[in-house]
Amino acid sequence: MWEAIKHRETGQIRSNSFANRFKSRRILSLQLSNRKDFVSPHRGSVNSLQVDLTEGRYLLSGASDGSAAVFDVQRATEYEASGLIAKHKCIFTVDKQHENGHKYAITSAIWYPIDTGLFVTGSYDHYVKVWDTNTSQAVVDFKMPGKVYRTAMSSLAMSHTLIAAGTEDVQVRLCDIASGAFSHTLSGHRDGVMSVEWSTSSEWILYTGGCDGAIRFWDIRRAGCFRVLDQSLTQLGVRPPILKQKAVSIKVSAAKSSLGGQNRLKTLQSKNTGSQIVKGSSSAKASVEKSRQKRLHPGMLSTLDRATAHYGVVTGLKATNNGMYLLSAGSDSRIRLWDIESGRNTLLNFETGRIQTNKAIQLDTSDDPALVFVPCMKTVKACDMWSGRATLMLRGHFESVNSCCFNSSDQELYTSGADRQILVWSPGGSVEGEMMQDEVAEDKDNWSD
C-alpha cells in the first residue's frame, strides 16, 4: 500500500487508477461487517432495497408486512460495545397502521431519482403509492389491475417522470407523477411482467421481463416493443464480430456457377421449378399469413414473436452502468448476459447454482472488478462478469436472500432476505484493524508474575 502511495506521489500512476486499485481490493475482500448493523423494523421478508441515487446516503427497504423503512447509511443512531459497533435504526417507517399505508406486501420500493423528497412503493394490494419523505404522507395513488411486481423510474430522465409498473396483468403501465394519471400502456407480453428496468443509456428505453420468459425492449415514444430477446440468437464473445467482407461471398457464388456441368444445371433447374411450384402454394399460405398480420397494428406485430429469453419466468433484470449489457435472471436458474446493441446472448455461464424461482430477485453490479452480485437461495455469490466464475460467496442469511444493493461510494453491499434481516457486507481488513493488532503485539511482552 505504501508502494502505491509512493508511485502516486512520483506520478507513476494516475489518481484515478490509484483510487480504483484500492476500491477493487476492498470489494474483493467483502465480508459480513462486524462494525455496522441495521436494526430492521420489518416483520416480514424484506423484498426490495435501494440506496438513493443523489447522495448514496439513505437506504430504502420494502417488506412483506406492508412496511417501508428508511435508514441512514453513513451516520449511526447509536453505538454499542464502547463505540465499536454502529447500530443504524430506521429514521421512519410507513406500515399498515399508517392511514394510507399498503394493506398487503410491498414488493418494490424505489427513490425518486432526482432527490430524496419522494419515494414510490408498489404492493400486492394493486396500488402504487408515491410518498413524501419529510411528512411521511402518501401523495399520489395509482390503482393497477393486478398485483404489482416491480416499479422503476429512469435515473436519466430529463423530460419525463414516469413510473413503469410491472404487474400480473400482461400490460406494462406507465404512471405519470406530474399529472397523476396513466400516460400509456405497453402491450406485448403474454403473461404477467415480473421485472422492469429502465435503460442506463437512454431515458426513453425500457426493458421488461415477463412470466412467459420473454424480455422485451420498448421505446416508450413508439407503439410496441422494438426487440424481443431470443436465447437461441447467440454471439460468441462479448462484442459482436465484425461483418465479413461482401466480396468473399460474391467469389464463392461465382465459383459455384462455373463448376456446374450440364447435369448439374439440369438438376438445379428441376429443383428450381419444383421449389417454384411449392412456392406457389406456400406463397398462398404466406399471403394468408400476411393478411392475418395486416389486421394488427404495426406496433402490435411483436406480439406474434414468441421468442423466449429463459425457459421460465424472468425474475430479475439489471442493466450495466455503461449501458452496453443487460443481465437477466430466470427461474431456470440461469443468469444470462445480453449485448444490448445486437440483442444477442453472449453465452456467458455464471456459476450460480440454484436461484429462487417463485419471487423476483434483485441483482446488482459493481464496475471496477466487474462483478455481479446474485442472490442464490441462502447465499449471495459475486461472479466475475466476463468469465462467469464465482469469486466471492457471502454466507450470512438464515433464509433465502431476495435482494442485493451495492453502494459503490463506500464499497459496501447490503442484502436482505426472507429472514427479515438487512445485512451489511463491508471490506474486511481495515487499517484500524491492523493498528489494533500492533498494540496487542506490544502488550504481549509486558507481563510479570
Binding site: G237, S275, S281, R306, D332, R334, G353, R354, S387, G388
Partner: protein, 282 residues
C-alpha cells in the same frame, strides 16, 4: 482427430476394449500436450478421468463410455450438465458447444424433466436413428414415408434449435411436398417431435424411444442423492461410490455422478485418500 468407430457396429466385448484403448491413446496424447502437471501417480487411464481439457474431447470420451442397452436402441447421448462437470470453464463449454452445433456436428435436445436439462447427440448417430425408425415403419407397412425424408432434408438441416414453431415446421416441410396434419401426427408417433406444456404452439425435437432412459435418469438421480443423504456426513469416496450399482436406473453410476456434479447437487473435494463426493449444502 480421427472419427471413432460406430459403437453399434462393435458388439463384442473385445472390440469395445480395443476401441477404448484407442481412445485412451489419442486422449493421453491430448492430455500430454495440454496438461503438463499430470504427476506419475495421477496418470490414470484417460477414460477414468473426471475432467477433460476440451469440450469435443469430453464429448467423444463420454459417448464411448455409454453402455449399450440394446433393447432400448437409443443413440448415445450426453447431458449438458455432464459437460459442465468435465471441463473446468463453463463459459468455454457453452461457446464450444455453440460452435459444434452451428457446424452441424452435434444436435442439442431439451429434455422434459422440469429442470434445465439438455441432451447432446452427434448428428450422425441421430440420422442413423431416424433411418432405423423409417425402416421399422416400412416393415409395418405404413405409407406416406416421404415425410421423414422431407423432415431430414429440410427441417433438420436448417433448424438447429431444439424447438420449432408450428408455422415454421409446416413451411419447411412444404418445401418437400404437400403436407397434411396427418403427417405431423406420424412424426409425433415416431417419437421425433413432441409438445411440452410450456407453450402450446411449439414443437420440440426429441430423441426417439428415450422414455425408459429418461425415467431411469430421474429415478437414478433421486436414488443417488438419497444414498448419500443417508450417510452420517453426507459424503462418500468416489472410488467406493463408482462400484455401487443403482437399482432403478439402467444408466451407469458414472453417468449420474457427472450429471449431479454438473448441476450443482454434488461437489467433489480432493483429500489425501482420494476424491470425496459430498452433497453441496448451498
Amino acid at each position: 482427430m480421427k472419427r471413432k468407430t460406430n459403437p453399434e457396429s462393435s458388439a463384442s466385448g473385445a472390440k469395445k476394449r480395443r476401441r477404448e484403448e484407442e481412445d485412451e491413446e489419442v486422449g493421453c496424447s491430448h492430455a500430454g500436450i495440454e496438461d503438463e502437471t499430470i504427476s506419475e501417480d495421477q496418470c490414470r487411464l484417460l477414460q477414468d478421468d473426471l475432467t477433460f481439457s476440451d469440450t469435443s474431447v469430453a464429448l467423444r470420451m463420454m459417448r464411448a463410455q455409454l453402455p449399450r442397452i440394446d433393447q432400448a436402441s437409443v443413440p448415445p447421448f450426453i447431458l449438458q450438465s455432464q459437460l459442465y462437470s468435465s471441463v473446468n470453464d463453463r463459459t468455454q463449454v457453452d461457446r464450444e458447444l455453440e460452435c459444434l452445433r452451428r457446424e452441424k456436428v452435434v444436435r442439442v435436445f431439451k429434455l422434459n424433466t422440469g429442470q434445465d436439462d439438455h441432451a447432446i447427440i452427434f448428428l450422425d448417430d441421430y440420422l442413423k436413428q431416424v433411418d432405423r425408425i423409417v425402416k421399422r415403419m416400412e416393415e409395418k407397412k405404413q405409407n406416406d414415408l416421404d415425410i421423414f425424408k422431407w423432415f431430414k432434408e429440410h427441417v433438420l438441416d436448417s433448424k438447429l434449435e431444439p424447438s420449432i414453431g408450428h408455422h415454421e415446421l409446416f413451411s419447411l416441410l412444404s418445401l418437400g411436398g404437400k403436407v397434411k396434419d396427418a403427417h405431423i401426427t406420424l412424426l409425433i408417433n415416431a417419437g421425433l417431435l413432441t409438445r411440452q406444456l410450456v407453450d402450446p404452439d411449439m414443437y420440440w425435437f426429441t430423441i426417439p424411444s428415450i422414455g425408459k432412459l429418461w425415467k431411469g435418469l430421474l429415478q437414478g438421480r433421486n436414488e443417488l442423492l438419497s444414498m448419500l443423504k443417508r450417510k452420517r456426513h453426507k459424503e462418500m469416496f468416489l472410488a467406493e461410490l463408482e462400484k455401487k450399482r443403482l437399482r432403478y436406473s439402467p444408466l451407469d453410476m458414472r453417468f449420474h455422478i457427472r450429471d449431479l456434479i454438473g448441476s450443482g447437487h454434488l461437489k467433489t473435494v480432493q483429500t489425501t485418500s482420494g476424491l470425496i463426493v459430498r452433497i453441496s449444502r448451498d
